[in-house]
Amino acid sequence: MLRQQIENILPFVEKPARYTGGELNSVVKNADDVDIRFAFCFADVYEVGMSHLGMKILYSLMNERPDIWCERVFAPWIDMEDEMRKADIPLYALESMDAIKDFDFIGFTLQYEMCYTNIINMLDLAKVPLLSAERGESDPFVCMGGPCAYSAEALADFADFYILGEGEEVNLEVMDAYKDWKKEGGSRFDFLKKISAIEGVYVPSFYDISYNADGTVMAIKPKYDFVPAKVRKRIIKNLDSVYYPDKFVVPFIEIVHDRIMLEVFRGCLRGCRFCQAGMIYRPVREKTPATLLDAAQKLIDSTGYEEISLSSLSTSDYSCLKEFTDGLLDMTEKESISLSLPSLRLDSFSMELMEKVQKVRKSSLTFAPEAGSQRMRDVINKNITEEDLLTAAKTAFEGGYSSIKLYFMMGLPFETVEDVCEIAELSKKVVRQYLTTPKEKRAPGLRITTSVASFVPKAFTPFQWAKQDDRETLREKQYALKEAMNDKRVKYNYHEAPVSVLEGVFARGDRRLSKVLMRAHELGVRFDGWSDQFSQEKWDQAFADCGMDIFFYTRARSFDEVLPWDMIDVGVTKEFLISEARKAEQAITTPHCREKCSNCGASCFGGGVCFEPRR
């Protein structure tokens, strides 16, 4: 236990409570009583990592088992890192304050690409050999999961194995395999061999990748006959009966999402072509209102939180939305806590639901039209019209809202500068909608915020072959939009282009990027997601030092190119993605799963919306 050493440096860091644990519902066990110690790492600061629902679920799930102790680890902020390095304190877990290098597993959840350098930095701080190939028999296994794991080849040299898909079942299967392996007594290789037989486990070192002269992947070949050619992700077939925690760790300090989160369903019906989550979480599987309300009541009782929110993609597509929100609003009113709704779809936005939520508290509404022109919305398969948006805005203004946030993207495939400038036109039409709402009906203080992110093509989407706009093109588009946005009533925000480009490189990278990540780490790169820490110069140097080219990774790919993540099977087939990419080019939309099945491939899992009776 490193408590005394840690306490000596805490007076010199900001927010020391990030580093001391002890929160309500955090789990402390006796290390001697458990067989497996698991360090669950989130490669960002405490406030960000503690907001992540997946971590809450898996933390509680593993700790339900008396033989496993799962503890939390976050990236220390730079002031803490400096102090830890000065005092020679290795990275430790919050519950026990023990060094994680002595754990059995170090697991990282990959939520966004810009945390990859933090992962390497955390391994370094932990004093664990950075490269999988350099780890010995006494080192922990380093595993990675989460949405980015499906195409995290850039981390292939650092990960011992990946866990693909939903973790509730497969994580425990891996833990059981570990106990068996310990009993049998074998090498690290033996363990990896053993778990490579578990569906959803991908061991990158078991595959050989060969390359063509132009740098593209020639072939992906399993090195051994026991290795599957393709690793299929795991899903929970019956979501209604899946484990859900009845307790959340309640932090002392304020975190980003400081509230109860309820997961209503997994997957998304919609099939927006830019959206990775919409493809990798297929098929849609719902929980019943009774299950959700039961979970809500338990979490209200165990946390004392004053707010509850719903966490799903396109939550208004929930088939029992009315029954569920009626029950939930009764509960929140009785417990005097507030309900915050996530972004709702415009076409199913109802006055009724808005009114219901307003009874508890009024906040701003968020709409995500994603693209300014109708043509572009058809290209990306965002099935909403300008009329949908303006009607929803009108309803909102008449309902007493005066603050609306609009989310858009730029840099989408087949997009012109004119398409981008239509974002400004649409924003201004929303302003006009407010002005034409009778004064006695509308609330004062109009606030329209238009946020425009740079599109990043992601693996396992119909746009995975698309060219990503370079920095200059994105800057030109941002500038043109700024010019067109000549209305002071609209606040215009946009993302920094360089970060988006780098995100795109790692989102579609191959394992040769491991070298670049290592070099960037040596140059002191970390916290790339924090704009005050991001250094384009250091990244440019890292790529140059490794003789690697950023543009190789942002280029357009042909449909027959072997993709670096072709050994992974997410259910959705390449054929479906290609047909969607072709339809995008012609601006033809695809109906959502409940309207018509488009044979995406996700039915191979044998559950969810694919097997719902059709009307």
């Binding site: 408590r3 005394q4 306490e7 000596n8 805490l10 007076p11 020391p16 409570a17 580093y19 001391t20 644990g21 002890g22 929160e23 309500l24 402390v28 309640v250 002392f252 300090i253 304020e254 009782d301 165990s302 946390t303 004392g304 939180y305 004053e306």
Partner: protein, 220 residues
């Protein structure tokens, strides 16, 4: 309404090592949630943004644990003190122990707190003459005030202090220093002043608040 007619409970509790880095504001939120979890009939303020009517005796400095914390909380109805003590204790994070709860009657006001006793342990990187600093009449330090840094005699804030050696280069201080809204000294400032006085570096510093005192005037 008189103080007696309101249903106010004075709760005494401890904050141990594990929760001593929680800031005062974070601690307030933590207590609010504990009352909510314990489903206590706490009274809320009127108005647009209702909040719990609670008052904490003397904010505990970050990094200091305590054996004598107090807070007053207003309830909408009377409660059994033992049950309050037990139920609130069960709802608190480990690290906060409820010692007692009593209906506030003629208890002194937190505003009249004048000083607090601290037990401080530390290790010095060089041997020091334990009581030399204790005996000093005057030692000038920079202290943050509302109008920026100010030079003050730290000894004006120290009512008594007694330093003893408790091991090899390990020392213990028992000190009563000013605390409260009238005049306040953070105990860590006393420790850093001492380190400077001796020209030594102190580490493994542990500060525990042991007791809170009220001004003489309040006892009448």
């Amino acid at each position: 309404m008189s103080q007696d007619a309101k249903i106010i409970y004075r709760i005494t509790y401890t904050k141990d090592e594990g929760v001593k880095y929680i800031s005062h504001l974070d601690f307030l939120r933590c207590v609010n949630r504990a009352f909510k979890r314990a489903k206590m009939p706490v009274k809320y303020s009127q108005g647009f943004n209702p909040h719990i009517l609670q008052n904490i005796a003397l904010p505990c400095p970050v990094g200091v644990s305590s054996e004598c914390e107090m807070l007053d909380i207003e309830m909408t109805r009377t409660l059994d003190c033992d049950a309050l003590c037990r139920d609130l204790g069960a709802a608190m994070p480990r690290g906060i122990k409820i010692l007692k709860a009593e209906r506030r009657t003629n208890h002194p006001d937190f505003f009249d707190i004048s000083s607090a006793r601290y037990a401080i342990d530390f290790r010095s990187d060089a041997p020091i003459e334990a009581d030399a600093f204790d005996k000093e009449e005057c030692y000038i330090i920079e202290k943050k005030s509302k109008r920026g840094m100010k030079e003050v005699n730290i000894k004006d804030f120290v009512q008594s202090m007694h330093t003893t050696q408790s091991g090899d280069c390990i020392y213990h201080i028992d000190a009563v220093i000013n605390a409260g809204s009238q005049s306040n000294l953070k105990p860590d400032l006393l420790v850093s002043a001492m380190a400077k006085y001796y020209g030594a570096n102190f580490c493994d510093i542990k500060i525990v608040r042991k007791e809170i005192f009220y001004s003489e005037a309040s006892k009448n």
